[in-house]
């Protein structure tokens, strides 16, 4: 997935955790934790804690009471759990929606734990997963959660023409996923899921899906009683199973959550209910909201803003104000990809050699708080990442070496090679970035041809792999949907990625396809090191210029207790937040 966008979109779900030595997700696995070093990205190495039970471990210093105000400029698009995919709705949804599994953030690292069900057991042929529902779970209105409600939620997710924004892995992996159209059109019968007794959920797959337990943490798996499904109106008043429930909601403007009296902390190993309420407010100016949080006058002391920290406010973060900075991990890598079909390997190496990483980083308004220079495909917070010595020209740092690049072009007989890309010509920032890149490439003997387009045209232009450009097509980055190379390499580098419009490098290599599939079919403990090796191999093909790994950097008021980041979303971890007084 691509980068965190302001304005209208939020970053897609990002999951970062480690799985080490794990034969099946039902095994307990205690990996070592890398230790969160504030804003520095560290390699996640913990895994699954299949025996975790509620209540969740108390956060040191926490206390109950008060109302936390959360602000942002961009508004979440929906709170229908089936339709949630963006990270803002997803993180807020964790306050309301319990799912079969969930991530408990321990020392800044996510560990998959049982939530409504256990973490699942898989059949020998890897095509059937069984999950056991915890007893005595209730909705906000006191009615019990039934296993049929979990099954219904899964079926509902197939109504993709109604819930167009939600994830679609179930269509690819679940049995009948290509045929079933959801309960509104296709009726109740789906071979993808069944219930047995009062507590057993069985998921049937069309092909192995080793990472299913991680996928089951998505909000679309939260239970929904069929009788209470109000379809397109469900988003206005979804039923809560989590510690908070909706008191009032004005779409696009405000959301007020209050305590859910029927949430039992003893059944929940991942969440807390410290604050009495959460007030979400959207639409104000991001810089003004961040400044207000930093000033912490009156009620602003209880406020956290989750827009990306504006560079203009960084100089204020000294002394006491430093403690108002919330840092954490994300699991996104941002790149400029190169079309391997249109640019020979030697020329791609020359582009990398000439690339002005430092000025590019600065011109884009990035700083060390919000981004870390990249040199790999996988970010450090995803298992499979390995900090190998960066390949020549792919360190993510430096001013570029135009002389060396020119020599490479001359040796290849490609001096004057045209390098072209689309850029948004309506904002000064994107114009400056394009200009900087063009200057560097021209100095290196290329013929740089940046093509300016209107903002509204950019997406359609950059997603057209047949367009007359050869670098910078989308996606301009990627974030994990779950914590393994399995949510990166098959998506971005197999041949189908070109028709999916989600390709880095436009690779069409049958041998590479097979290599990726072979690794993807391995148990996670065996696949993880192989992803690392594949990462280096594909980077050696010079498919993309690595720019940076995203980081979480947001500001909060002085009365909010120590807030940690949720690396699965790159957002503040709302379920652990509390007020100091």
């Amino acid at each position: 997935m691509a980068t965190r966008f302001r304005l209208a979109v939020a970053v897609t779900a990002a999951v970062a955790m480690g799985i080490a030595g794990c034969g099946s997700p039902s095994s307990k696995n205690n990996g070592s934790t890398g230790g969160n070093q504030g804003g520095k990205i560290t390699t996640a190495a913990n895994a699954i804690d299949a025996t975790a039970k509620g209540p969740a471990k108390d956060v040191p210093g926490s206390r109950k009471g008060g109302t936390i105000v959360v602000t942002a400029q961009t508004t979440p698009n929906t709170f229908d759990p089936t339709d949630i995919y963006y990270v803002d709705s997803n993180e807020i949804g964790k306050l309301m929606f319990r799912t079969p599994t969930q991530f408990d953030i321990r020392d800044g690292h996510p560990t998959l734990v049982p939530d409504l069900t256990d973490v699942g057991t898989v059949s020998a042929d890897k095509l059937t997963w069984t999950f056991k529902l915890q007893p005595n779970i209730k909705y906000q209105d006191g009615t019990p959660v039934k296993v049929e409600d979990l099954a219904y939620a899964i079926k509902r997710s197939f109504a993709h023409d109604v819930f167009v924004n939600g994830p679609t892995y179930q269509m690819q992996f679940f049995k009948d996923g290509d045929k079933y159209k959801g309960p509104y059109k296709g009726g109740d019968t789906c071979a993808c899921v069944e219930t047995q007794g009062t507590d057993t959920l069985v998921v049937h797959l069309a092909k192995p899906f080793n990472d299913l337990p991680f996928y089951m943490s998505f909000p679309m798996f939260t239970p929904i009683p069929q009788a209470k499904d109000t379809k397109q109106n469900y988003k206005n008043k979804p039923l809560s199973t989590g510690p908070y429930m909706i008191q009032s909601y004005q779409p696009g403007t405000a959301l007020n959550l209050v305590k859910n009296p029927n949430w039992d902390p003893n059944t929940d190993p991942a969440r807390h209910q410290y604050a009495d309420a959460f007030n979400f407010k959207w639409g104000g100016d991001a810089v003004k909201l961040q400044q207000a949080a930093l000033n912490s006058n009156g009620p602003d002391a209880n406020t956290i803003n989750y827009d990306e920290l504006d560079a203009s406010l960084v100089p204020q973060l000294t002394g006491d104000k430093k403690s108002q900075l919330v840092q954490g991990q994300s699991s996104c890598t941002i790149v400029v990809q190169m079309d391997t079909r249109k640019i020979p390997l030697e020329v791609r190496k020359a582009i990398a050699t000439a690339w002005p990483y430092d000025s590019d980083f600065k011109t884009a308004g990035k700083n060390d708080l919000v981004a870390e220079r990249a040199s790999t495909i996988l970010p450090p917070s995803v298992p499979g990442y390995q900090k190998y010595t960066p390949l020549p020209g792919l360190s993510g740092k430096g001013a570029g070496d135009p002389a060396a690049a020119k020599k490479m072009l001359q040796d290849a007989g490609k001096l004057g090679f045209e390098v072209s890309w689309f850029f948004d010509n309506t904002t000064p920032l994107t114009q400056q970035i394009a200009q900087g890149r063009a200057q560097a490439l021209n100095a290196a003997g290329f013929k740089a041809k940046p093509v300016g387009v209107a903002t509204a045209d950019l997406r359609s232009k950059t997603s057209d792999y047949d367009a007359p450009v050869n670098i910078g097509q989308s996606p301009a980055g990627w974030c994990s949907d779950w914590p393994s190379g399995g949510s990166w390499f098959p998506v971005l580098f197999e041949s189908h990625s070109i028709t999916d419009g989600l390709s880095w490098g436009e690779m069409k290599d049958a041998a590479l396809d097979k290599e990726i599939e072979d690794i993807n079919n391995l148990p996670t403990d065996q696949s993880t090191p192989k992803w690392a090796a594949l990462d280096q191999k594909i980077m050696g093909m010079y498919v993309a210029i690595p720019r940076y790994y995203d980081k979480l950097a947001v500001v909060q008021g002085t009365n909010i207790g120590t807030t940690t980041g949720d690396p699965t979303m790159g957002m503040p971890n709302f379920v652990n937040m509390y007020l100091k007084s």
Binding site: F5, A159, H160, Q232, A292, G298
Partner: protein, 327 residues
């Protein structure tokens, strides 16, 4: 008078209709990508096609506008994925981004903007007229010069600078915090949450009204009827505030009406800076995400407000100045 009003209403409807058609045309002629915005970064061609279909963006623009107009007059049905939703007239559709009925979004936003603007208008009208009248009464004195000088100074500072400074360093320190609370739920909280915006909008605009009122008062106080009133022995206070102000108010009221109309459609800075969810912020957000139904809703509200305020000003004129007749 009644015939005049009817003619103006008919004219207003045609203005709103033309504005809507023009907005629709601009939207489809200009580069826009509402489906792409919703689709987000993880956007496959299939997902994009699904979104376009769900928003009826795959229909011809002429058909889309015809359905929109039909919805305004008689309502319409929206069918998607085996589900049909009826939208009663006046149906302005559903927000592409939020999926919420546009009517509902507007009904939430309009009271906010009206509250901001009317409250601000009360402040700047009364403060401006009072200070302008005082300045006119004490014309060419130090008081007059200070008043005019101060109004010029205030007018020279960009509004958004003043608003930002107030929002960051005065609100929550001296003034109560900015927030929207519907009047019917809690009038005190409503007033308290808007106080910062009212005073900022009011006092910055009062500077202009000081100068309008001063100039108008000076002219009114030089009229024959004022000299006649003085010669009858009426007190100066009564001459100024009973006779002079009434005559001086006429042009000021005209400007007030137009200003209110303008601010109702341009309260964006105030709403954004003070975090108030009015129609300005709603429309700006819709603009950025190519949310056509919300955009059209905002355009419709804006055009109705403008024509209505113009009509109200024209009618008010006849009461303020008996010499004016409508026809």
């Amino acid at each position: 008078m009644l015939l005049y009003i009817l003619k103006r209403v008919a004219s207003a409807i045609s203005v709103v209709f033309v504005t809507l058609v023009a907005s629709f045309a601009l939207f489809f002629l200009a580069p826009t990508d509402p489906a792409g915005v919703i689709c987000g970064p993880r956007c496959t061609p299939q997902r994009l096609a699904d979104i376009r279909s769900s928003l009826s963006l795959d229909q011809p623009p002429v058909q889309q506008i015809a359905l929109y107009m039909k919805g305004l007059v008689v309502g319409r049905d929206f069918s998607n994925g085996g589900i049909t939703q009826h939208c009663s007239a006046p149906c302005m559709g559903y927000s592409y981004r939020l999926g919420a009925p546009v009517t509902e979004l507007l009904l939430q936003a309009v009271p906010v903007t009206i509250s901001i603007v009317l409250g601000g208008a009360i402040v700047y009208f009364f403060v401006g007229v009072l200070t302008g009248t005082i300045a006119a009464r004490h014309r060419a004195t130090p008081l007059d010069r200070v008043t005019v000088g101060t109004s010029l100074l205030v007018n020279s500072i960009p509004y958004f600078v003043v608003a930002l400074l107030v929002a960051l360093y005065v609100v929550n320190v001296v003034l109560p915090g900015s927030a929207w609370h519907p009047f019917w739920q809690n009038p005190l909280a409503w007033a308290s949450g808007l106080l910062g915006a009212w005073l900022t909008l009011g006092l910055t605009n009062a500077a202009s009204y000081t100068r309008y009122s001063r100039a108008s008062m000076i002219e009114a106080l030089g009229q024959d009827f004022v000299r006649t009133a003085r010669s009858k022995g009426i007190s100066e206070r009564r001459v100024v505030y009973r006779h002079g102000v009434r005559a001086a108010l006429t042009p000021v009221v005209t400007i007030l009406g137009l200003d209110i109309a303008y601010q109702l459609t341009n309260a964006l800075f105030t709403e954004s800076i003070f975090g108030l969810p009015g129609i300005g912020v709603l429309t700006l957000r819709a603009f950025g995400s190519y949310d056509l139904p919300v955009l059209l809703g905002g355009v419709m509200v804006g055009s109705v407000v403008l024509v209505l305020m113009n009509l109200i000003v024209d009618i008010a004129y006849t009461f303020l100045d008996p010499r004016v007749r409508l026809g």
